[in-house]
Amino acid sequence: MPNLRDIKRRIKSVKSTQQITKAMKMVAAAKLKRAHDDITAARPYAQKMLDIMNSLASIAGHDAHPLLSKRGDNKIELVIITSDRGLCGGFNSNIVRAAEGFIASNAGRSGITLNLIGKKAKDYFKRRGLTIRQERPLGSGRPNYSTAAEIAKEIVDSYTKEIFDETYLVYSEFKSALSQKTVMQRLLPIEPPKEGEGAAEYIYEPSQEAILADILPKHIEVQTFRALLESSASEHGARMAAMDSATKNAKEMIEGLTLKYNRLRQAAITKELMEIIGGAEALKG
């Protein structure tokens, strides 16, 4: 049976944990708002880029550029985007599970390499006997375009050198603050749009081919950037939800402990009273 002081100590400790989870929830909510704004802000650029690329690629056809044409899909590279930090519920494990599933179902391929973004992915995959070709932490602050460009450039370079024949992005897409969806998206080779889709008549300068060759790697950068932004917003959303439920649990726990504390206190008082009365009776007799 715990004594009164033990329970009091427990309550105090749960309360301070609750304070931390509450603060983390607030911070995640603020960051989520900003991450969401970033996604919205990035949309016009990505959309326009996609429009231009589609209209170019649909005229040019499949084999106009190495990044568009398929070559026997043997070696695959998985680009896995997780977070650097934990305490965000099932966020990282969902992504890792999706990646594992993909690896298991493609075990027959001649090679799978990993490109890990975020510390959590590295922590998980470093002892799994898979080839980690690249890994980098996300770093602090909001995702910026130059990081995405760097990652994308490395991927495009390796793809061109035929180090792998296909690239997939695994990341968490932001649906709402409460729901994230793990998506598996093919990054390379680029899926060419259907013929005759949005092909506008332009005067091209310098030439169609030159612009296409220039814009395709840019497209990969934009896709990578979008994935980073989505992942960041999802992480904050997931953390907010996790911390919200942690705060609720702490509250329930405090209520339970307080009830127990009061009961024990009352029992102790009753016991003391009984003793006093008993003592008085004994004196009388």
Partner: protein, 85 residues
């Protein structure tokens, strides 16, 4: 024919500008070009340099990074990675 057209300048992180302007010049990869309302559809890559646009009596200048310009009948979209004012 209207004598203004919509100029939109977008970067990966924001919509920098969306305004009706009368005139614009941009540093195309094959040389600087100017656009007035009613320009033929045109798609070009841009190199680093100065972009100017005219609205009423004001002429504004900004420095842009390499990127792309899409000109369609009443609208010009500039895609660039970075803008320095």
């Amino acid at each position: 024919m209207a004598d203004t057209f919509l100029l939109e300048i977008v970067t990966p992180t924001r919509l920098f500008l969306s305004e009706q302007v009368e005139e614009m010049t941009a540093p195309g990869s094959e040389g600087e070009f100017g656009v007035l309302a009613g320009h033929a559809a045109f798609l070009t890559s841009l190199k680093e340099g100065e972009l100017t646009y005219k609205k009423g009596k004001d002429t504004k200048r900004i420095t842009i990074d390499a990127g792309y310009a899409e000109v369609i009948h009443e609208k010009v979209t500039i895609l660039t990675e970075n803008i320095k004012e």
